[in-house]
């Protein structure tokens, strides 16, 4: 049996480190020893498949309770591809977020902001055959956290993707354009590469925007590519 085609290593600087002094929660949670390189086998190159029949889509986060949640309705959409530009079709995307006041429907969130019984804050969508996805939500609020004095998280929506192999597993956060808190956020700035950081920020998109109804934000997601890149020569530099 031939070996599975592995996913490529990440481009240097485009992924955050495990130890990041400015983000206090990393201090006691990052391993001190270097990670051990594991050549990818079938355990890494294959991954779970989620059937919509068993994991029903939740494509409109504003319609998960009796009433409408408070806040500014938004449409979020984009495309999931790999590093070779190939679409990632029929893949599950999980999203979760705070309500418009900046509070999560979560018992551990004690931020003094109103809960919204009409906003559980969970979504789940699947990409289409061409990698496109779309969901409706409300714009989340910023909220304080105790990382440092007067620390506030920029407005964000959490994303979870699986791709086609477990080595592609991705948890990330989508930010909003023009947010002044981005410049101050140690989690966002944990990514050293400015371009990679910028790609975490969604773009206002008039084509996604629906007249008289909701603004649209586009967030494209790229998962690791498989196999050698065209400009790779096997490391014989």
């Amino acid at each position: 049996m031939s070996d599975p085609v592995p996913f490529r290593p990440f481009v240097a600087g485009t992924q955050p480190p495990l130890d990041h002094a400015a983000y206090g929660s990393t201090h006691l949670r990052h391993p001190k020893r270097a990670l051990r390189r594991l050549p990818q086998t079938v355990s890494e190159t294959t991954g779970p498949h989620f059937a919509p029949a068993l994991f029903p889509a939740i494509g409109d986060l504003t319609k998960q309770a009796a009433g409408a949640p408070l806040g500014e309705r938004i449409i979020v959409g984009g495309r999931v591809t790999d590093e070779d530009g190939r679409p990632v079709p029929n893949t599950m995307i999980e999203v979760w977020q705070a309500n418009a006041a900046g509070r999560y429907a979560h018992p551990r969130d004690t931020h003094d902001a109103p809960a919204d019984p009409n906003f559980p804050g969970e979504g789940r969508v699947f990409t289409d055959a061409d990698g496109h996805y779309r969901f409706v939500s409300i714009k989340p609020g910023a909220y304080p956290w105790r990382n440092h004095h007067n620390a506030w998280r920029p407005v964000h929506i959490h994303f979870s993707l699986f791709g086609s192999g477990f080595a592609q597993r991705l948890i990330t956060q989508m930010y909003f354009p023009g947010d002044p808190l981005l410049a101050l956020d140690p989690i966002y700035h944990g990514v050293a590469d400015a371009g990679a950081r910028d790609r975490l920020v969604s773009r206002f998109d008039l084509d996604l925007t629906e007249p008289e109804w909701a603004l649209g934000y586009r967030f494209d997601i790229v998962l690791r590519g498989r196999g050698a890149t065209p400009f790779e020569d096997g490391g014989h530099h």
Binding site: T26, L38, I171
Partner: protein, 176 residues
């Protein structure tokens, strides 16, 4: 060429997407012939020995071959003591690279506040003869480090492996 999207922490509120049944990989009723039902437990602690009580622990296994009745993937929230618990089917050996064989194992992904990227490790089973020749286990020279990947029996059909994120007894974490 597009570049892979950066990882960000799962944060402390990921439970909004938690569905406790996902920790039971046998919930769709796999047949007895598919494999032995096992329980896998453990506890996650940080560099100060404190429980990691807000983590998402994920497992993936390529064996037995996942199908409609066996997803091969599970997710479990750690409790207040940092404990996780999965019910799954015991994996069989799977191919390694070349003509190698890998000992039965689970792939583990840890996600939590304070982890800006996923931490990856594996769980093997004590007493499995193939552990001696498993390419990953055999590559770890220090027996104490190797032991951090090997779950011990803890009762009939039950295996346990504690995970230490940092410091003494630190788990071997993997870059894939």
């Amino acid at each position: 060429m597009p570049v892979a999207t950066a990882s960000q922490t799962i944060g402390p509120y990921w439970h909004l997407i938690e569905h406790a049944e996902m920790a039971d990989l046998t919930r769709f009723g796999p047949g007895e012939e598919m494999g032995e039902r096992i329980t896998v437990t453990g506890r996650i602690t940080d560099g100060a020995g404190a429980p990691v009580s807000d983590a998402a622990v994920e497992i993936w296994q390529a064996s037995p071959p996942p199908d409609d009745r066996f997803p091969g993937y599970g997710r479990c929230a750690t409790d207040g003591e940092g404990r996780f618990r999965f019910v799954t089917l015991r994996p069989e050996p799977v191919p390694g690279l070349g003509n190698q064989t890998q000992a039965p194992h689970l792939s583990i992904v840890l996600l939590a506040r304070g982890l800006m990227t996923a931490l990856r490790t594996r769980l093997y089973f004590a007493g499995e003869a193939l552990n001696e020749t498993d390419p990953l286990l055999a590559s770890i020279e220090d027996p104490a480090e190797r032991a951090t990947l090997v779950a011990q029996p803890a009762g009939p059909g039950t295996w346990t492996l504690d995970i230490r994120l940092q410091g003494e007894g630190e788990t071997v974490f993997l870059e894939v």
